[in-house]
């Protein structure tokens, strides 16, 4: 592995100059002459039959060009597809129309679409559409939805159960029977709203002359958008160009393929004019996918000495009203497979009920299934420790997979690549000063002050692979990545990647990789992404896969370029290619470093092609499709220290320490930034954020006034450190860093607060741990005593 100058350097981001000067180009910034503004009228009711829609008044309004209802689009748009179909789960995919035809099933379901000369006019007209609804009973809770007598969303999905998925390894019944203790807990992993700062948007431009569609849209995976758009519209893939270069955050919510962009395309095609749709924040809350929303029944079998012998989980996952693009894979594979965590647990059984309710569809949200699994394990570790009177750190340590045993296959069948879990734990304990803290905690308790410390020792799975495994899991796509490295005659390099960073900084880190591989200045490398008209087919950015998989693809493509260059250099220097040494952008003859051709000279020669070696074609450009042999498994220990005010229930963060191991690191500054942001999101789930529906299916937390997205004064200072355990599955030895913070932080924070509340005998509270919830728990605990 070549660790040279750029690898490991905190290079400033090359994305930033356009973003700090206001010259980035997000979808809403695209301006085409003659563009119409699209506004989607959405259902105000969670479950209702559409009796009639009167659009006549709206059609007459100033500036209005056309109004469409669900029936108008049935012929031009196939249903919104679901693209993750777990086998052997009795999966039922209900029909999901871009605009509802007869029945609306959640607040936010599209009912009609208006296009006008400007947004103000389109909004006025949408408000003038008269829809007569017949109200139907609604259900929002996934457990209640499966019970007899619950309102049914679909005639052909009994008990609203879209799937039941099971996975088992070992013998859980025996483990529970033979255990010294069985610790059981119902855990709610509540619903979250991803809330990227850029709302979703699409600009569709169908050219009736050429039959070509150009679609700018907020996508983490533009080729998947192209493929699915072709499938639902019938426009050939060859005629569709999807552009998503500057995307203002996604966190999973811009993976799915949505009704909004489908409607924009259908109308642009119908009218032959560009159509722009930009959701407002209210729409983002109700019509962009949500995340999490599990109810988990957990039983853990343990021995008296703290050895965990088994875990059984029965989960109810709320899928919302329809199955979004990747949704069925999130609470099943991405959750169930990770239920061993960093521990040796020989017996594991999981059963997941995917339930349809009258709520916004859920799908991947940063971490996607892995935070839910980590929350289950890390909360249960503390409960087991509490039951056995052990230190929570020691229970974890006792069950860790030892570093000598990697690669290690867990009971859920995953093979973990590499790890040294104790090293990360020890480093975190050292930074936080664990022993000293316990003394301070004891002293503070004597004074009536509530200090608490919480741990999360996690492992996650990144860079999902290989594609064969994707197929076995029912994922309707591959999990490889592509890269083309094109050297221009001047020796400047364009890299075309199928990854689509939207904040993760790969325009910088990928350039660092290529600069090292080809020995060219960083400024000579441009990274092109997010435009299907320029890049090779790629799978996009999610699951912390871009650098581990996409970065590997470009390393291999760059090496092919380098090798071809060596043949040309050898020919020009009249030696055998075996006698050529490549070092920092120079090809020279072994033992004669003054006989040299620079990379730039070789590039020029490749394009002139006046004097090429036999059998070598002109040009200097290579493509590589990389399908890794395995996933990567980043891990680490997060520690949170809090003080809870017993009079108010308010939580104050005193320390937050994160020791992550993401393997080798290309750009430490960027990785630290990813960790910071992830911690903020995971921590916010623990104490602030929650999507609240009333029993009629109204989203009560449907604005930034009501949904507690953290501000700068609501989060602590993060103390970030790393251990380094490279992975063998890719040439850089790195694992992926985009989601660790979110996966690890939620249970660390909850465990800290519960630890603080220990004097009251409180062992568990469901999130978010708001002052009110904590205060009430304190009051109730005192009532009993």
């Amino acid at each position: 592995m070549a660790v040279t100058k750029m690898f490991g350097a905190s290079v400033k981001r090359r994305e930033d100059p356009r973003m700090i000067t206001g010259r980035a180009n997000y979808t809403d910034d695209v301006r085409l002459p003659g563009t119409l503004s699209l506004v989607i009228l959405r259902s105000p009711y969670a479950h209702a039959r559409i009796k009639s829609i009167n659009v006549e008044k709206a059609r007459q309004m100033p500036g209005v060009v056309a109004v469409y209802t669900g029936k108008d689009l049935v012929d031009s748009l196939a249903p919104v597809p679901c693209a993750w179909l777990p086998p052997n789960s009795d999966l039922k995919v209900p029909e999901y129309r871009a605009l509802a035809v007869d029945t609306v099933r959640y607040v936010g379901d599209g009912v009609a679409a208006v296009v006008a000369e400007n947004r103000y006019q389109a909004q006025d007209a949408a408000a003038a559409i008269e829809v007569e609804y017949e109200m139907l009973p609604a259900v929002v809770d996934q457990e209640k939805a499966t019970q007899d007598g619950a309102p049914q969303l679909y005639a052909d999905v009994p008990n609203n159960t879209a799937f039941v998925w099971r996975l088992a390894g070992g013998d859980i019944d025996a483990a529970l029977r033979d255990a010294d203790v069985v610790v059981s807990q119902r855990l709610i992993n509540h619903r979250l709203i991803p809330t990227a700062m850029e709302p979703r948007a699409a600009v569709a431009h169908y050219n009736p002359g050429s039959g070509e569609l150009t679609l700018w849209c907020t996508s983490q995976n533009p080729h998947i958008h192209r493929l699915l758009m072709s499938a639902v519209t019938g426009i050939p893939e060859t005629k569709i160009r999807v552009i998503a270069t500057d995307v203002g955050g996604g966190f999973g919510s811009k993976i799915p393929f949505y009704a909004g962009e489908m409607i924009a395309v259908a109308i642009s095609k119908d009218l032959g004019r560009p159509v722009k749709w930009v959701e407002d924040r209210r729409e983002n809350f109700v019509a962009t996918t949500h995340g999490r929303d599990h109810i988990d029944y957990v039983d853990v079998a343990a021995k008296q000495d703290g050895t965990i012998t088994g875990i059984r989980v029965k989960a109810y996952a709320n899928m919302g009203a329809y199955l979004s693009t990747a949704a069925p894979g999130v609470p099943t594979w991405l959750f169930g497979l990770m239920l061993s965590g960093p521990y040796k647990i020989p017996n594991i059984s999981v059963e997941v009920h995917g339930v349809l309710t009258n709520t916004t569809p859920t799908d991947a949200y940063r971490g996607a299934g892995r935070p839910e699994a980590t929350y289950v394990l890390e909360r249960m570790m503390d409960l087991v420790a509490d039951r056995l009177g052990m230190d929570p750190v020691e229970v974890r340590r006792k069950n860790f997979i030892p570093k000598e045993e990697f690669p290690y296959t867990v009971a859920t069948t995953l093979q973990y690549d590499s790890g040294d879990y104790e090293a990360a734990l020890n480093r975190a304990l050292e930074i936080v000063g664990y022993e000293q803290f316990r003394k301070e905690q004891e002293a503070a308790r004597a004074q009536g002050r509530l200090l608490g410390i919480g741990f999360s020792t996690y492992v996650e799975v990144c860079g999902l692979a290989p594609s064969q495994a994707a197929g076995a899991m029912g994922f309707q796509g591959g999990l490889w990545e592509s890269a083309t490295v094109r050297v221009h005659p001047s020796g400047k390099v364009s890299v075309f990647t199928g990854s689509n960073p939207h904040g993760q900084g790969e325009e910088t880190t990928f350039a660092q990789l290529v600069a090292d591989e080809l020995g060219v200045p960083l400024d000579d490398v441009e990274i092109v992404h997010g435009d299907t008209g320029r890049i090779p087919f790629g799978m996009g950015t999610y699951g912390s896969r871009s650098t581990a998989v996409g970065g590997s693809a470009l390393i291999y493509a760059a090496r092919k370029v380098r090798d071809k260059g060596a043949k040309i250099a050898a020919h020009l220097l009249e030696v055998s290619p075996d006698d050529i040494v490549f070092d920092q952008g120079r090809y020279y003859v072994k033992g004669a470093p003054d006989r040299v051709k620079t990379f730039q000279e070789v590039a020029g020669a490749a394009y002139l092609a006046w004097n090429m070696p036999e059998g070598v074609t002109p040009g200097l450009e290579e493509t590589h499709f990389f399908d890794p042999i395995n996933n990567t498994y980043p891990f680490g220990t997060h520690v949170c220290v809090v003080e809870v005010d017993p009079a108010t229930g308010k939580v104050q963060f005193l320390r937050y320490v994160a020791v992550d191991d993401v393997g080798n690191v290309i750009n430490p500054m960027i990785v630290d930034g990813q960790v910071h942001g992830g911690i903020a999101q995971g921590l916010a789930q623990a104490v602030y954020e929650t999507a609240v529906y009333d029993e009629n299916g109204q989203l009560l937390s449907g604005s930034l006034m009501d949904y507690a997205l953290p501000t700068a004064s609501m989060v602590p200072t993060y103390e970030v450190d790393r251990t380094v355990t490279p992975t063998p599955v890719n040439p850089m030895g790195l694992k992926g860093a985009g989601e660790t913070g979110t996966i690890a932080s939620t249970p660390a924070v909850v465990n800290a607060i519960i630890d603080a509340l220990k004097p009251y005998g409180i062992t568990h509270l469901d999130m978010p741990l708001t002052p009110q919830r904590i205060w009430q728990a304190i009051q109730e605990s005192q009532k009993g005593s």
């Binding site: 000067t21 809403d28 103000y120 809330t195 700062m197 992830g678 903020a680 930034l704 006034m705 501000t711």
Partner: protein, 164 residues
């Protein structure tokens, strides 16, 4: 019934006929094509649309274009002078104060206002000063450091100018 307004934006005077209900942010973005100012919520919570109007930060989704008649406005596009980044822009670049970049123009303009009023803020004052601006990517720590970087640099420049 359209109304005529005259607004100076980044030192350039514009006269336009606008609908009375047109929001300032849409005027900047759709009439003047200054798309660096972003719309994140259009309900005044996220702060992505923050600009400087007559010397103070305003959320331009909550100001009507007609209210800006006669005003002087600075947007993110007007912050760099003569090809030199403003210390805040430099700070955000140096300290990795942005990831997706969508909230960044509003963050920078709010920080501009903050440092004008308080050239030497504590970390707590910075965090408090940013409460009207939301960022989903960074967890704020590097935004705070970016503003500290700019504050140090601006105070240094002011001291040097004072000493001359």
């Amino acid at each position: 019934m359209k109304q005529q307004i005259t607004v100076t934006v980044n030192g350039v005077q514009y006269t336009s006929e606008v609908e009375p209900r047109l929001l300032l942010v849409h005027y900047l973005r759709d009439v003047l094509n200054l798309t660096g100012t972003h719309v994140g919520c259009d309900t005044s919570q996220c702060g992505a649309c923050t600009v400087i109007m007559n010397g103070s930060a305003v959320k331009s989704c909550t100001v009507l274009a007609v209210q800006a008649d006669g005003a002087e406005i600075t947007t993110i596009e007007g912050l760099a002078k003569d090809g030199q980044l403003h210390p805040l822009q430099e700070g955000f670049w140096e300290m990795h104060g942005l990831q997706c970049g969508f909230c960044t123009p509003g963050m920078i303009m709010t920080a501009y206002d903050l440092l004008q009023k308080n050239p030497n803020p504590t970390e707590e004052e910075i965090r408090h000063g940013l409460e009207g601006n939301l960022c989903r990517c960074t967890g704020y720590q590097n935004i705070v450091r970016s503003i500290q970087y700019a504050a140090d640099k601006m105070r240094g420049a002011a001291a040097a100018a004072g000493g001359e």
